[in-house]
């Protein structure tokens, strides 16, 4: 493993709404950190040796970096769009590689089998062709024109619809999903997966959403997303090998896996290998 390339990235380390003066002990890439409010009411993150880490507060979460970030935290323009509801789904710990958590989020082929009757259902198991690219200027992985039949695509959906998705990976342990918005055609619902790497095989996952939905209660929105993610959790904890394989010798991907292939290629290109297995064992 190498920590080096990933050390300058931003990572979620807590919910802004749950910060207090007492602080919370957690970890970032094997280093113990402390996340707290300071006397002025600002978020403060302290590293293992007592140094103050660079901090951002955005998308309902506190973000920190162990190194010296060369880029600003990635932008989600929809976070400033009026009329959206912002949902702090809350942390879930998963005993898996942080990279595997992101890769699973990018996969649609498992929907009918893991999220049965919600995000997919047999016999509608086909993943139609879609487009994947690594956008050089933004340095992000994008998958577009992803379409899938879903019995209950969102809390706000009534009945089955063919849902369109776009996936975006703007940072090694974060993904942003844009998805057909049932009550507001023409807009996209935004669902994110922010992953805090605790260790190479352990992570805290902080899902967050920016939705158009004036009907559902906030608790219903939280529970819908927690249901989906907890269906994934038991699968993630049983994936072998535990680290994400970047050696192409290990697996034979299919067309449905194009996003995963691009994600792994992009990780490898940047040496984003914390949580990855470089040589097949």
């Amino acid at each position: 493993m190498t920590v080096k390339a990933m050390i300058d990235e931003w990572y979620p380390v807590g919910l802004l709404s749950q910060l207090d003066l007492k602080g919370r002990k957690t970890a970032l890439m094997d280093e113990p950190i402390d996340v707290a409010l300071d006397a002025d009411g600002n978020a403060r993150v302290t590293g293992g040796n007592g140094r103050t880490l660079p901090v951002r507060v955005r998308y309902g979460h506190v973000w920190a970096s162990l190194g010296e970030p060369k880029k600003e935290l990635f932008d989600i323009p929809e976070a400033d769009q009026p009329g959206r509801r912002f949902v702090d789904v809350g942390v879930v710990r998963v005993r898996c590689s942080p990279l595997r958590a992101v890769e699973n989020f990018l996969d649609i082929a498992h929907f009918p089998f893991v999220h049965t009757d919600i995000l997919g259902a047999e016999p509608h198991t086909e993943v139609q062709n879609y487009k994947v690219e690594i956008r050089e200027e933004e340095d992000e992985v994008w998958a577009t024109q992803v379409k899938f039949y879903q019995p209950q695509a969102a809390k706000s959906a009534s009945g089955g619809i063919t849902t369109e998705y776009m996936y975006r990976v703007p940072a090694p342990t974060c993904s942003v999903l844009y998805k057909t918005c049932p009550p507001r055609p023409g807009e996209w619902d935004v669902i994110t997966l922010f992953v805090q790497p605790l260790a190479e095989d352990l992570c805290d996952v902080w899902p967050w959403m920016a939705l158009f939905d004036d009907e559902s209660s906030m608790t219903d929105l939280i529970h819908f997303q927690q249901t989906i993610f907890l269906q994934d959790r038991s699968i993630l904890e049983n994936q072998i090998p535990r680290l994400l394989p970047l050696d192409p010798g290990m697996e034979i991907p299919t067309r449905a896996d194009l996003t995963s292939v691009a994600y792994r290629r992009w990780l490898k290109r940047h040496n984003y290998t914390y949580g990855a297995q470089l040589v097949a064992q």
Partner: protein
């Protein structure tokens, strides 16, 4: 009948599962247990000073113990889920209902620690969980020697529903079910009941779907 419910709570799931198996319709009131800790809000503490969920409300009746809710649902809609007239059976139902509290404290505590970062001594919780699972395995095996597939009888009772969720979700708390073949058979028997309901982490039995038709298999 109104259930104050959290989708990820195994104790709430007991009540949802029992209601589904007995055909009772519940009015679900979702509680933001995580991250909102709504179960500790003044409104819910007024209903249940213990600050726990589930809470079941039916007219004047307010229940805060899941075993009592199972008994109430069964008595109302499906008495065959209660103990029959045999003293041993009645005793076994009570024995396993009480035992289910140990599963909640041990395996449930380990799951909350490992999944939702609740405080606790994870080593002790897992050790106590393993001890409870070994006891359950032995109990189920002895039942199988008596020709009974379920905890208290040859048919499922509320005792099975009280024990099933925390056992099935043990891996969420880092406790493997691999060493317990009789528990796995029992879990399969519970999951194949008519009107079985799943929850996140407890998948339905895909393998019990109809076999695909194979040409020439009639011969």
């Amino acid at each position: 009948m109104k259930l104050y419910d959290y989708i990820l709570s195994p104790s709430c799931y007991k009540v949802r599962l029992m209601a589904s198996l007995t055909g009772v319709k519940l009015d679900i009131r979702p509680v933001d247990f995580h991250p909102g800790t709504e179960h500790r809000s003044p409104e819910l503490l007024a209903l249940n000073p213990a600050g726990s969920i589930p809470i079941l409300e039916d007219g004047d009746l307010v229940l805060t113990e899941s075993s009592a809710m199972l008994a109430y649902l069964a008595a109302k809609a499906a008495p065959e889920w209660l103990a029959g007239s045999r003293p041993e059976e009645a005793a076994r139902v009570q024995q396993w209902l009480s035992f289910s509290g140990r599963l909640t404290a041990s395996l449930g505590g380990a799951r909350l620690h490992e999944m939702l970062l609740r405080p606790g001594d994870i080593g002790a919780l897992q050790t106590q969980g393993v001890a409870a699972l070994r006891e359950l395995e032995a109990g189920l095996f002895e039942q199988s020697m008596r020709g009974m597939r379920f905890l208290a009888a040859e048919r499922p009772t509320i005792a099975d529903i009280a024990c099933f969720p925390y056992v099935a979700l043990a891996p969420d708390g880092g406790v493997s079910l691999d060493p317990y073949p009789t528990i796995r058979l029992w879990s399969r028997a519970v999951r194949s009941l008519d009107q079985f309901l799943e929850m996140p982490g407890i998948h339905r039995l895909h393998e019990l779907k109809p076999e695909p038709h194979v040409e020439g298999s009639e011969a």
